[in-house]
């Protein structure tokens, strides 16, 4: 079971408080985590990555184990600590004003 932390607007949209727990397919990657997230919460489709192309939206970042892993390939394995549930996979809305 992996743990995902969503930004404020996506928690509201998905109707969840706090962390989200997911079962994701092996190997655990950005892509499989997001696939599992969108499968469990269809309302999040299109809000983190685009429909069709699965391209990450510009103002979304991914953090894990205190690192920004946003620009790492979507099919690279995530750290073991995320896979074990010891650390969270964090979806971050980038700082932007207005």
């Amino acid at each position: 079971m992996i743990r995902v932390v969503l930004p404020h607007h996506l928690r509201a949209l998905a109707g969840v408080d706090g962390e989200v727990s997911l079962d994701a397919a092996e190997p655990l990657t950005q892509r499989t985590v997001l696939d599992a997230l969108e499968e469990k919460y269809p309302v999040l489709r299109g809000t983190i990555r685009d429909h069709g192309t699965a391209k990450r939206r510009d103002f979304i970042r991914f953090f894990a184990c205190g690192r920004d892993i946003t620009l790492e390939p979507a099919d690279d394995p995530l750290p073991d600590e995320v896979a074990s549930g010891a650390e969270v996979f964090r979806v971050v809305a980038a700082m932007a004003g207005g």
Partner: protein, 371 residues
Amino acid sequence: MSKVRLLVGTKKGAFVMTSDGTRDDWDVQGPLFTGWEIYHLKGSPADPDRVYASQSTGWHGQVMQRSDDGGKSWEAVGNEFAYDGVPGTHQWYDGTQHPWEFARVWHLEPSLSDPDTVYAGVEDAALFRSTDGGQSWQELSGLRKHPSGEHWQPGAGGLCLHTILINPDDPNRIVIAISAAGTFRTDDGGEKWRPINKGLRSPELPDEEREVGHCVHHIAMNPSRPDTLFMQKHWHVMRSDDGGDSWQKVSGNLPSDFGFPIEINANEPDTIYVVPIESDSEHVPPEGKLRVYRSRTGGNEWEALTKGLPQEHCYVNVLLDAMTVDSLDPGGVYFGTSGGQVYASPDGGDNWTAIVHDLPPVLSVEAQTLP
């Protein structure tokens, strides 16, 4: 007694305001979707409790919402707006070609007869339709694939399709407007489209009377006379009496004929309202006075409506979808400002009061007249 419900979209959420037929006291609910830009909400004429809303942010893109109880509760519906086929390119600000990219839904127009059918005007300019209550969206691509499409160029607010008018006598006849491409009409339900910009002149263009490229800001139609259209263009207030085939300038004695919204009194099809703005460079009311101008003669002769509106130190703007009318008698007129005020006039514009003063900047206002 009849009621009025206002659906107000702002930069930071939506608000629903209701009043009885006197339109004196208003109940204000909201914000809904706090922190999101709500470009537009609109109710179905066939089922007024069915309301659609366009919700977006720069972080998370587009979300579509639907209510079946007049805005009390909401359900997220489909948000996939995929252009038909290979999207191709349109003209960018610098004259180069730019890929067509979906940004957001600017305007929602529910069918006149079917609550599950709704049109969406989007940026980059295209028209989509849902026939399943917003769960899925299909592009009516004959519009974007018009031979002029590759020459369409965005206005300062983007290449947005912001006006959709369905002819009540013939719902297959639909007029749309795009900033800054101009006005187009279909007579076959959306398969084929043609530009209807004859008579428009835009001195900002090298060829003032070109077929496309005009920055139309809004068009209004009174259902009792659907072939008469009134347009607020970037500059110039225009009128057509032939469904848009030709246009005549009716700016008359307006202090400025630059502006964004235009509306028609529901009971008096020759009574129209605009909010003159100083110029396309300044985007503030002339002389710091917020004045709605009314013509009772279908244009050319205009009077300033000021009672209850600030007449000094006022520098707000009123955006293109931020004015509306109800269909009570006497007809009510409403508008929202970039300063967060929503003004109401229950008597056709003679007297105005602010329902609210301090909302986020108002993007759109729609009125529903309820039994």
